[in-house]
Point group: C3
Amino acid sequence: MPDTSFFSKGAGLTARELCALTGSELGEGTDPDLRVTGLGPLDRAGPDDLVFFDNPRYETQLQATNAGCVLVAQKHLAVMPAGLPHLIARNVSIAFAAAGRALFPAALKPTPILGQAGISPRAEVDLSARIEAGVTIEAFAVIGPNVQIGSGTVISPGAVIAAGCAIGRDCRIGAHVSLAHTLLGNRVVLHPGVKIGQDGFGYVPGPAGMDKVVQIGRVIIQDDVEIGANTTIDRGAVRDTVIGEGTKIDNQVQIGHNVEIGRHSVIVSQVGISGSTTIGDGVMIGGQTGINGHVTIGDGAQIAAVSVVAGNVPRGARWGGMPAKPVREWFREMRFLTELAKKGRTTRNDSDE
Amino acid sequence: MPDTSFFSKGAGLTARELCALTGSELGEGTDPDLRVTGLGPLDRAGPDDLVFFDNPRYETQLQATNAGCVLVAQKHLAVMPAGLPHLIARNVSIAFAAAGRALFPAALKPTPILGQAGISPRAEVDLSARIEAGVTIEAFAVIGPNVQIGSGTVISPGAVIAAGCAIGRDCRIGAHVSLAHTLLGNRVVLHPGVKIGQDGFGYVPGPAGMDKVVQIGRVIIQDDVEIGANTTIDRGAVRDTVIGEGTKIDNQVQIGHNVEIGRHSVIVSQVGISGSTTIGDGVMIGGQTGINGHVTIGDGAQIAAVSVVAGNVPRGARWGGMPAKPVREWFREMRFLTELAKKGRTTRNDSDE
Amino acid sequence: MPDTSFFSKGAGLTARELCALTGSELGEGTDPDLRVTGLGPLDRAGPDDLVFFDNPRYETQLQATNAGCVLVAQKHLAVMPAGLPHLIARNVSIAFAAAGRALFPAALKPTPILGQAGISPRAEVDLSARIEAGVTIEAFAVIGPNVQIGSGTVISPGAVIAAGCAIGRDCRIGAHVSLAHTLLGNRVVLHPGVKIGQDGFGYVPGPAGMDKVVQIGRVIIQDDVEIGANTTIDRGAVRDTVIGEGTKIDNQVQIGHNVEIGRHSVIVSQVGISGSTTIGDGVMIGGQTGINGHVTIGDGAQIAAVSVVAGNVPRGARWGGMPAKPVREWFREMRFLTELAKKGRTTRNDSDE
């Protein structure tokens, strides 16, 4: 059983409850009153744990698992060990995720570091700030003039909220977050070290070095956005930087000034998005990818990890490579050039060593 | 009119004043007493806003703009809508930037988070620190023994300045900045989360794992340097890490030990510069580029984004690619290989699908 | 003499002591009682400094050095200037590192920012935390409920340790570090801004956007690990993220959930390691390299900088490129394609300009 000592287990869920919750079907011979309280991977789960099996690569682990119950797809029923309780899910990952959220509701959002509600006497809160009831502000957080914070929001230790920022309800603002010139919607989660609203990077050559281009825009973060640790988002120059509703951003992503990202997009760690680029709804961008400035990525586009997007990407497209192009084309080019290089080597091998 | 509520508008500037300030010429039919108080992009500006037009791509926006006044180049006068007040600039971007600095002087540098001058009773300032008059140290900042801070400098909440560091005059040290073994000149701006002067990454194999190579150098940051959020700069091993006067560094850049960067260089976000590399004056480095250790990049060189610099780059060169080479050569290679791959595909297409 | 004013010199070491310490041999004509107190590079060292010479490229600097004593390999004795005291080392870098550690013991680990032992009255320490004797907790650090901290450990200003974390003995926790759901061994060094134990990046598509996959694992950091500034390490989903004993990680590295790294591995700055990847013992990964999720890198493998590891890497392999392959193969392909492109250009040059 994996050690989940940081998240205490509750009463758990029965197989019947799990079926209702996840739209799954009770497996043959599975007791509807069977109860699980935890989650685990196949190789470490115990009899109280729910696991999932979705990748034939792990069949050996499935055969040996000590898990109490397995979420499995119809197509994999043939390899289920006899007598192992199981639930048949249409989409195993989605069902497992739903079960996880129900079993560990405390893991849905970061909790206060010091475990106490209310405003710490060791926080620095400007008298002009408007704090709704039910806000938690922990020690050494700083709330500047005219800041607004909605009820249910938690401001972690050391977070710094500059003048005039507005934070909606039920947000989680992590330790060492810095917000300036920023408006946040409801249920926004900012993990530790996120820096939002500092100057965009704008200079012009002057007589004695680079001169500043003033950055007078804002950052707008809509409802249900989640942003990973140490990510940076600059405020706009003469318009706003906008992150649309429900978009999820991983750690150490860099987002330049005037960037607009749509709703329900997913951006993996270490991606860099240059200034004034527009990204649609439901876009997926793999880790470490770099995106040029002033380009547009259409709704639903998917960009592979470690790509370089130089120009516009059509909606719904799947692109990758340096520079990024349609995935099929990119794969073909890579294959062709690799084969070519192999041939080249074969014919001139001796002189080469 | 874009919402610039975080930066209040002042009395503004007349067309005549703007011409004097930016070296522009009053457009035909433009009232010299016309006054603007704000800045905007073409598509959102209102009658109090100055905008610029420099890219024919946005001509439709120009035709429909509600802006009060347009900065435009001589060569684009033909497309100016009749009756739209305008100023003719030699360099539109530079003129617009100068106007912006005059209209929004408060945006030139970050301002204190809590809006108050002086040393907060909730800052921790070692008694041996030498703080000039006119320094602002905000709540929960930490100033170690023998630190020196020049007048006009603002230390933001939670910044940590370790023993012996010296900070010049009129600097802005952002929230959650950490400085150690570092000397800063005047007018240096460090955005939130910048970490300077921690150990460089040096180890040698030992009998029981990796052994430390001590890092006993310093970091020297000269006048007018600006450094973006969450950038990290390690101190030198047995020499100093140096960032030259007026150099501008974007967010999430990594600079290794012993690196020396010249004056008025520009380094875009997520660049990594390995240890002991020397970069000249007036160098431009595009985002996400990686630079090998122990190489030299000559004065005025320009390196494209997402490149990998493996060896020395001559002064004035324009390089790009992986590994980086002269831009013209790099483009030709990319074009040639792409065409080759296309041909290759055509001749063997069927087996490929 | 380089300015090492941040690290005071001690009594120093004699040539005889250095020989004993580093297993070196006294050079011909070198006084065994010669004493050095500092370290320097060849071009800036003074008569009290030890330097090393290991790269023929710097022979001019060697001829002109003012250093007091030189560590040199047998094979370079021929170029030693007459009369320059020297010690003959089997491995010059290792010997120089050993001398450095002996001359500057204070540089082995970060020291308290405020130079004082004990628990600052301005730290926030939960009453349920178990703090051994001899722990230093500096101003504005936050220690949550049930945290354990071993003797000799220093918690720097503004560090935030969330509920239930355990920190071993003689650790150094830098400024603005955030730890949650994390267990640390002994002698772990975390540089400023490191964020460990926040949510891994896990979502599934839901009816109204992306739904959270709960992350209920932990992060285990074993003894003698050192982690660079602003690096982020996510906690596991249903298993633990593990960093093995003695592993050294540079600045701005991103490590996803469930990653397991072995012992004595070295990971250079800006590397990204995707979720559920396993990395062996003694692995070296160059800067900015990206590693796919769910892959295995065998013990002792070396991955070149700026590579992309898409699949498993065998133990002991040396790989590089995008996608990474054996270094020899990668080099040959690059050479072949570059030559090919050159030829292509030659035959069609005119139309190309």
